[in-house]
Amino acid sequence: MGSNESQTNDSHTVAQLEMDLLRFATAGSVDDGKSTLIGRLLLDSKSIFEDQLEAVESTSQSKGYDYTDLALLTDGLRSEREQGITIDVAYRYFATPSRKFIIADTPGHIQYTRNMVTGASTADLGLVLVDARQGLTEQSRRHAVLLSLLRVPHLVLAINKMDLVDWSQDVYDKIQKEFTTFATKLNIPDLEVIPISALQGDNVVNRSENTPWYSGPTLMHHLENVHVASDRDLVDTRFPVQYVIRPKSDQYHDFRGYAGQVAGGVLKKGDEVVVLPSGMTSTISRVELFDNEVSEAFPPMSVTVHLEDDVDVSRGDMIARPKNAPKPSQDIDAMVCWMTNEPLRPRQKLAIKHTTRTGRAMVKDIQYRLDVNSLHRDQEAGELGLNEIGRVQLRTTVPLLCDPYSKNRTTGSFILIDEATGVTVGAGMINSAT
């Protein structure tokens, strides 16, 4: 009967074991055809199964549609289907032979900024959809601002419904120009503008014959080939200690390993390191993954690090290099996205979680509120309401071992938690710390 010790390592299986990963966030409303586009990506990459497609076809028929509504593939909860809206971030998965994709599918309505921020926080690429007939809207500008704020390194502007503007190059050029001008005010290192029809599939997976004037990649080709490996910081060593492994067994009597996920740089045996916040120094004696010694650990590996000296290290500490370490700081200047109804106000006290460290924080000042449509900074705001973003000064009870968010998305981010309800109420991106 069955076994794992198969010698039939056919090429299909082996190739798939080496696939890499792209996480991307989509933004746009139902009207822009976002769900239809995702349905199209899933369908054309053969990630949709017969029973799912049949269910969607029969629903489309019973609603009297002329075509299969691919948007139904992704509308998850019954309450959403009843209201025809998306209420929360949904994660979708598909793969091509070379890459696996995780889509954070976020709703585009104004009241759901918090979902967009959530979806973008882990994304390598942001996909903004606009309707070719309408061009850039306030909403598409807002999406680009949020993706830029969250430092999503790659952005795709997909101009959808090109079939409804007769595949006009003028329409494409105009929207592209307008967006490029707008984007100069943002942090968007890599931009691709692609004319598509999600409904008919043009330039999604297959190159369209309707756009001979367009020489760029199809959306799928771009998603498969965009280079994301170099987006990580492989220079500045940051290892937040998550858990201390002490087996306390006869066999591993003296074993003391510091477990965590590498947040930046490379760790290897022989490296001189400093443990923060104590400032004690030591040398890495071994880096391991399970029962295997590894020569080097880099982001986002989860490993266990051993030190030569018996220094005191516990959860919440950070291992860095003596000449390249963050300075422990309690005064934090950050952009904060506020995610709950009760506004954020000066002197408010909250719990803060940063890497593996948890403490308390007090709001010292709300410097300004950012209008994500106009980029105007309102210095009179005084507070941040639900789904508003602003620049905030915090004082923390424990020193944070942090970097600017622009340098490291892991050591530069934190969440704020309401101490009474336990709910996550804010997301922060650090500008500077002293």
Binding site: M1, G2, S3, N4, S6, T8, H12, T13, Q16, L17, D20, L21, F49, D51, Q52, A55, G76, L77, R78, S79, I87, V89, R92, Y93, A95, I102, R114, T118, S121, T122, A229, R232, L234, Q242, Y243, I245, P247, S249, Y252, A259, G260, Q261, V266, L289, F290, E293, V294, S295, E296, F298, M301, S302, A351, T356, T410, S413, I415, G422, V423, T424
Partner: protein, 304 residues
């Protein structure tokens, strides 16, 4: 020593593994009393393997909890026992039959055991005071799961409220709960069925033999192939046939169908799945077929 990462690239499977290990360690560090819900199925075995890696060479810092439906396949129970023995793990069994006897669960003769597990499970979590329960759920399984967090908050009644979910950003998980509440933790959230099989293949993980193709006496009922057994006997003009089959999920044996297959090893299963045209649950889980929103309803009540 392994030295394969000269280009500092991590395959997607290694990235998933690293993320899951991070989740296990985070929960062990922050929760007072975690438990791992172990069904003996392939997903919970992969979960156990990842937990083993997260804490090696220490033993798991939490026990395993199995809800015994009384209708589990023997092969599943024996695989479970060998895993528990190898890891030296502590195992807690919550029996549906005991829960029925104690009046926590009502057996009306119509409700499937998979559904009755909810009562036995919630009861075991409450009695033992568990504050976090790892589950093997994956977001690719079903539309309702696609919106669930890695840390999924459950109220005093063990219920999931999709509209009250906490935002989950970066890899910063918020584990705050009040007395009486608990958190469901899904370390496999971002894994797909194919990822699970690739990992089983790569790591040579021991799973129950019924996942591989074998000859079995089956009956075709409601479009599903059910295994002949004490509870499943031919009715009317149903006929018993011997076929080469394998199971894609291993729940309650009266509800879990098998599929025709010739795949006798993991590589062959991966090839079959890569060309499969029907989702895992749709084909073989009777309890998901009652309504399009069946999973959403069960989750709200406190299902895995």
């Amino acid at each position: 020593m392994t030295n394969t990462h000269v280009d500092y690239q991590l395959s997607q499977l290694d990235q998933l593994e690293a993320e899951s290990i991070h989740i296990f360690r985070e929960v062990a560090a922050e929760f007072e009393k975690p438990v791992l819900m172990f069904s003996g199925g392939k997903d919970s075995i992969v979960m156990l393997r990842l937990a083993e890696k997260a804490f090696f060479p220490a033993k798991l810092p939490f026990p395993l909890l199995q809800v015994d439906t009384g209708l589990d396949f023997d092969e599943v129970l024996s695989t479970r026992d060998s895993w528990v023995e190898r890891l030296g793990a502590r195992m807690i069994i919550a029996s549906v039959e005991d829960a029925i006897a104690a009046g926590h669960v009502v057996d009306d003769g119509k409700t499937s055991r998979n559904r009755q597990q909810i009562g036995a499970l919630l009861n075991a979590i409450e009695e033992n005071g568990f504050t976090a329960a790892f589950g093997g759920g994956r977001r690719d399984e079903e539309k309702a799961r696609a919106k669930e967090r890695v840390y999924s908050h459950r109220d005093d009644f063990g219920q999931w409220d999709p509209k009250m979910q906490r935002p989950e950003l970066w890899s910063l998980y918020n584990g705050r709960i009040h007395a009486g509440e608990h958190m469901r933790i899904f370390p496999l959230s971002n894994w797909t069925e194919l990822d699970i099989w690739h990992y089983i293949h790569r790591e040579q993980i021991q799973i129950p033999q019924i996942y591989f193709a074998h000859e079995r006496e089956v009956i075709e009922r409601d479009g599903m192939l059910l295994s002949l057994g004490p509870e499943i006997q031919p009715k009317g003009n149903e006929k018993v046939e011997t076929k080469m089959v394998r199971f894609r999920t291993v729940g309650d044996r009266t509800q879990t169908g098998c599929v025709e297959s010739v795949a006798t090893d993991t590589a062959a299963i991966i090839d079959e799945i890569a060309i499969a045209r029907v989702t895992e649950r749709g084909a073989t889980r009777g309890d998901d077929r009652f309504s399009e929103a069946a999973m959403e309803d069960r989750k709200k009540e406190g299902y895995f």
